[in-house]
Symmetry: C2
């Protein structure tokens, strides 16, 4: 069964009461979604710059013109992948953390979910990190989409830090931008040292680093005692 016939089957099964026009539209949207999913998987492995209509046609077993019909250009495809990843990231990392109480519990949940995501990406790669290297000196809409996705996420972490400070869980003088910068550094070091250097213990170090940051900016009563003593 081809990818498109599979899509058509799913579409027709899911909504049998639609009109012919509605079904065609839905089929188109689902096929597009299927292509974007495949493109995201490919981009995580070979980078956004490695994406091409041809490679995607091969992966999805569609014709090049079939893939091209859904994305007017390679750039549009890349932007769709960035948006898809951002959606996935939000669903896995951001939204579940919103169930935690405002303040330190929510900040902890955001970091814990972020860590879970990065742990998966030690194997697969992460387009927020590889994309930053690919597009750091290439202005244009792909770079803009990527940078604004990352910045939106960092702003969410910043907001959580401010709330934790407002709730009195952090020192009144805690610099929220500074904290977010340091937390971001832990995530980047984890990805670098675990994925590239293959150093063991990077996940534990990122977690310990987070506790050290909370201790640095936290009220004395909320501070744990140890900072590690391995070597």
């Amino acid at each position: 069964m081809t990818v498109s016939s599979f899509t058509a089957k799913v579409a027709s099964r899911a909504l049998p009461s639609k009109t012919k026009g509605e079904r065609a539209l839905q089929k188109g949207q689902q096929t597009k979604q299927l292509i974007v999913n495949a493109a995201l998987g490919l981009a995580e492995q070979i980078g956004l710059e490695g994406l091409s209509i041809g490679a995607l046609a091969e992966v999805t077993r569609m014709s090049k013109s079939g893939v091209f019909a859904h994305f007017g250009s390679r750039e549009e495809l890349q932007i769709s992948v960035v948006r898809e990843y951002y959606q996935l990231f939000s669903d896995e990392v951001f939204f579940p953390a919103m169930n935690a109480p405002r303040g330190l519990p929510r900040l902890r949940a955001l970091f814990a979910n972020w860590m879970k995501r990065v742990a998966v990406e030690i194997q697969s790669g992460c387009i927020f990190i590889s994309g930053a290297v690919e597009f750091d000196d290439r202005p244009g809409p792909v770079r803009d989409a990527l940078a604004s996705s990352v910045q939106t996420w960092l702003n969410a972490v910043h907001r959580a830090v401010l709330q934790a400070r407002d709730e009195g869980h952090l020192l009144p003088g805690a610099d929220a931008y500074q904290m977010v910068f340091e937390i971001h550094g832990l995530i980047l070091a984890l990805h670098y040292e675990a994925r590239f250097l293959k150093n063991p213990g990077a996940i534990e170090r990122a977690n310990t680093g987070f506790e050290n940051i909370l201790r640095c900016y936290g009220r004395p009563s909320s501070q744990p005692s140890a900072i590690g003593s391995k070597a």
Copy 2:
């Protein structure tokens, strides 16, 4: 004047007493060095993977066969670039710091020199960072050369941390691997946020982060009082 005639001129001027054979050898070495320098400049901009004999021939205004005569393969060229960068990094960052007294002064000097290097690379790019993304899932000698260069450098920072602990400048229980991980994170966050996101203030945040780490692992008497209070 072509690049190679310039090289020949420099070579003949510098050592007029050499024999013909020695001069030819020296000329060859200097031409190779010139190509490696050009390759490093190119790799910082477009990545190690972007390097090709053809692109280098264009930049150095040599023939492809002329460039190829010095590097048997593209891989050998990439490895030469990694070694050249490592040498440059050592000369700028590592060796000058060895003049500082053992312990905290030397650790501070290593970090300060590292920061100077990264500040330059906010404009140019850094092959220790872009190379990690390019080669994180490509086993082989280029990846090995890159990873072992980075690891050698991180080991040097680790040694400086151990010495600072031995000198009593850090808490006896300070985890040196943990500290190096956190410091590495600051450098990666600086590069990411300044180069890709173009966020202002990243250099100051990396410096503040380093002081926070020293405060976290330092003896109480050596701790400054503020942790920042901007937002």
